[in-house]
């Protein structure tokens, strides 16, 4: 279906992808769109691959994103970006935190963490943004804010004004962490 905006957020369980999708959803709702999100909980908290699918348009039916149709792929981790790449449409935007987290088969030596992920991503998406979100999050005050740093980067590619992002962050994050998250967003947005 044309006209639906498909944003795919991937990472590793515990990285805060769900909060990121909630903030984005609030922004899209405030922009007058219908929003659907699909996420799979359960085993995800235990460090497995996680995927949150967010779609917004005037009318959205299915909450799941079809392969080769994601307008934007936002990845919190290098290997997960590679895994989710087939979901990105031709000409879609790719934003990746250059953090590398080793999965168990790599730790135990039965698999290798690919050394050429950046090249492989760039060969498919030449203008992919591979960014050091972790350092920016540290600069904001906590590594945990890496999700909001990435949202700041994502915000540049979406037609919503800065103020609605700030409001959504205030609404979704814990009151104690509002200031740090606003700072993280500003650093990401640049």
């Amino acid at each position: 279906m044309t006209g639906v905006n498909n944003i795919l957020i991937v990472g590793v369980g515990g990285q805060g992808t769900i909060l990121a999708s909630r903030i984005l959803a609030e922004v899209a709702i405030a922009g007058g769109y219908q929003v659907k999100i699909s996420e799979i909980h359960g085993m995800s908290q235990r460090g497995g691959s996680v995927m949150t699918q967010l779609r917004f348009a005037d009318e959205v039916f299915s909450p799941v994103i079809e392969p080769s149709t994601a307008d934007i792929l936002l990845s919190f981790e290098m290997l997960e970006a590679l895994r989710a790449l087939p979901y990105l449409k031709e000409g879609g935007e790719l934003i990746v935190s250059k953090q590398e987290l080793l999965p168990m088969p790599v730790i135990t030596g039965t698999a290798q963490y690919p050394a050429d992920i950046a090249e492989r991503l760039l060969s498919v998406v030449p203008d992919a943004q591979i960014v050091d979100a972790l350092s920016l999050a540290k600069k904001a005050g906590t590594v945990k804010a890496v999700n909001v740093v990435l949202l700041g980067m994502l915000s540049r590619h979406l037609p919503f004004d800065e103020n609605s992002w700030l409001q959504a962050i205030r609404k979704c994050v814990k009151p104690k962490t509002v200031e740090i998250n606003l700072k993280a967003f500003a650093l990401g947005r640049g």
């Binding site: 085993m43 235990r46 299915s62 799941v64 080793l102």
Partner: protein, 580 residues
């Protein structure tokens, strides 16, 4: 009107609030858990974690009989546990509205099977409503309460992982208080002994007939006429996929999955040229259509196993070229693992080291099955570990239990492991049962249980005393250890295995994810001492790695400072250092 983005589960909880529900009882189980977590946030609704789904449904039945609206929530396999009260309360009926939520898991994102509980509704004679998104989850749940009272029947709301865990906009309403419907003693309705149950079974059939008549004309099912070349019968999440994949097709959208509307099926089938029935898991609607003599296609196109995705529909019916995911052969998988600092890790390391047969159970610790721990032989269902180990010994002889253990978490033990332990004592096997006591139901996201000292509302509650409980059942050897202390745990394990009789080892330490204070020191690898033997990697800890120089390293952002790696390192190469 206020609208809010909600998951299907949040919407069901909201429906409880709006429909004047007095009581929600549940046992946690993905994907149903957040129903009760969210219901507990409403002061007007009493919500509790029961020890298992059978108790939860019995509690809801009690509330219904006394005149209140009540709800019991569970995952699909939980309804097996609660099937006993379900099949009989179908005969009895209700007083206050009674709704059971069954959250099914096609694709088994977080389950041991993918049974289709629409069939349980049919088998029990309990109507099944199936919402397709969060707005319908709210609307259908509220409707289920009034229909339950009107037709004197319990109702099942069937969600799937995609409806339970997907979010969409919901319009919120106000709460309408429902005063208790006066209770009148009626043993012919609620004492199900044979003389009463026989007429109640016939009565159930009559109630089902009158509900069937209602179903034909009700708005819960609807026909959406578009192009009549293709017609699709579907329900739940699949309805949205069909709208997405076949925007021109006519649709018979089923909201009442049991009993199905024969007249509507016939009308719809007669109106379209080519008819498809698209449903995840069992061909329930398809079989029904065929029983009416309707020609259709369904399971010859779509698998009986797993989820159906919109692009599959677009390709198989819409003729759209399917976008195939390229094989991810070179991309290492990222399976879920026990967290850094998990108190279960050390125990399973020991079970593997001693090459024991491990009769396992359901919880985070099922992950011990995966490499490198690879320390689990069986996992069947909640609480099965103890019965399975007992059966192994009784069939293969007493020596079996010298190298076999039953392992389960404290919440699973309380759910349905206790009776297995009672059987071990009564029928005199010498099974060693290990209870992993982290004082929380962790796998489903940290729900309180009778061992945690808090209730579903977060208030202080009595905590069960496992040592006393096991002794009262008749276990003579009950030991408790801290699983971070490998030496003590190993000694206790050996003592239990050698004991001539049933033994229980309780490994007690809170879930690492709930320990808030930061470690006072950090663990580091001394590269001069590390020989690269990889013994520490056998722990399967996500904080440990191996570098290009052939040495182990500790990822400081992940390490929870449990110290297990330092304990098992034979070269003293892992040291504590004061944290910066």
């Amino acid at each position: 009107m206020t609208t809010q983005l909600m998951t299907g589960n949040e919407a069901v909880a909201r429906a409880c609030y709006e429909a004047g529900v007095k009581l929600v009882s549940a046992y946690p189980g993905t994907p149903s858990t957040e129903i009760t977590e969210n219901a507990a946030k409403y002061d007007e609704v009493y919500a509790e974690w029961a020890p298992n789904e059978k108790v939860a449904l019995e509690v809801a039945i009690g509330a219904s009989i006394i005149g209140a609206r009540s709800l019991a929530a569970m995952k699909h396999v939980g309804l097996n546990v609660a099937a006993d009260p379900l099949f009989t309360i179908a005969y009895g009926g209700v007083n206050g509205g009674l709704v059971i939520v069954s959250a099914d898991d096609p694709g088994m994102h977080s389950s041991q099977n993918e049974q289709d509980n629409r069939l349980i509704g049919r088998a029990a004679g309990v109507p099944v409503l199936e919402p397709s998104d969060s707005a319908e989850a709210l609307e259908f749940t509220k409707t289920a309460f009034s229909l339950s009272e009107r037709f004197d029947m319990p109702f099942i709301i069937r969600l799937t992982t995609r409806t339970a865990h997907s979010s969409s906009l919901v319009s919120l309403g106000e709460r309408k208080e429902k005063p208790l419907i006066p209770y009148k003693k009626n043993e012919k309705k609620f004492v199900m002994m044979p003389a009463h149950a026989r007429p109640r079974h016939l009565d159930l059939e009559e109630r089902l007939s009158s509900f069937m008549a209602y179903v034909e004309g009700c708005g819960l099912n609807r026909i959406e006429w578009r192009d009549k070349k293709i017609g699709v019968i579907c329900s739940g999440a699949v309805y949205n996929y069909v709208k997405e994949a076949l925007p021109c097709a006519s649709i018979l959208k089923i909201g009442v999955s049991y009993p199905l509307p024969a007249r509507m099926f016939k009308e719809f089938a007669a109106g379209v040229k080519k008819l498809y029935v698209i449903e995840e898991l069992e061909p329930m609607m398809e079989d029904f259509a065929r029983s009416l003599g309707i020609k259709c296609q369904g399971k010859e196109l779509f698998s009986i196993a797993g989820e159906i995705m919109p692009w599959e529909i677009a390709s198989k019916i819409g003729g759209k070229e399917q976008e195939m995911l390229p094989a991810a052969a070179e991309i290492p998988a990222r399976p879920p693992v026990m967290c850094a600092g998990c108190p279960h890790r050390g125990l399973f390391y020991l079970l593997g080291k001693h090459k024991l047969v491990v009769s396992g159970d359901i919880g985070c610790y099922t992950l011990a099955c995966s490499p490198p721990l690879s320390a689990m032989d069986t996992t069947i269902c909640m609480g099965a570990s103890i019965g399975v180990a007992h059966g192994m010994e009784k069939a293969a002889g007493e020596d079996t239990s010298r190298h076999t253990v039953a392992v389960l978490g404290e919440s699973t033990f309380l759910h349905s492991g206790m009776t297995g332990l009672l059987n071990v004592v009564y029928n005199q096997s010498r099974v060693t049962t290990i209870i992993l006591d982290n004082s929380i139901t962790a796998m489903t996201g940290h729900q309180h249980n009778p061992a945690s000292g808090k209730n579903a509302k977060g208030q202080t509650a009595p905590a069960v005393d496992f040592e006393q409980l096991c002794r009262a059942i008749g276990v003579k050897k009950v030991l408790v250890t801290d699983p971070y202390d490998l030496q003590a745990t190993e000694a206790a394990l050996t003592e239990c295995l050698e004991f001539d009789g049933p033994a229980v080892l309780i490994t007690r330490r809170p879930c690492a994810l709930l320990v808030k204070e930061l470690p006072s020191a950090a663990l580091t690898v001394d590269n001069k001492k590390c020989t690269g033997c990889k013994t520490c990697l056998k722990l399967g800890c996500p904080a440990l790695g191996f570098n290009e120089e052939g040495k182990a390293f500790i990822e400081q952002t992940q390490c929870a400072f449990c110290g297990l790696c330092a304990e098992i390192c034979r070269f003293d190469a892992i040291n504590k250092e004061a944290a910066q």
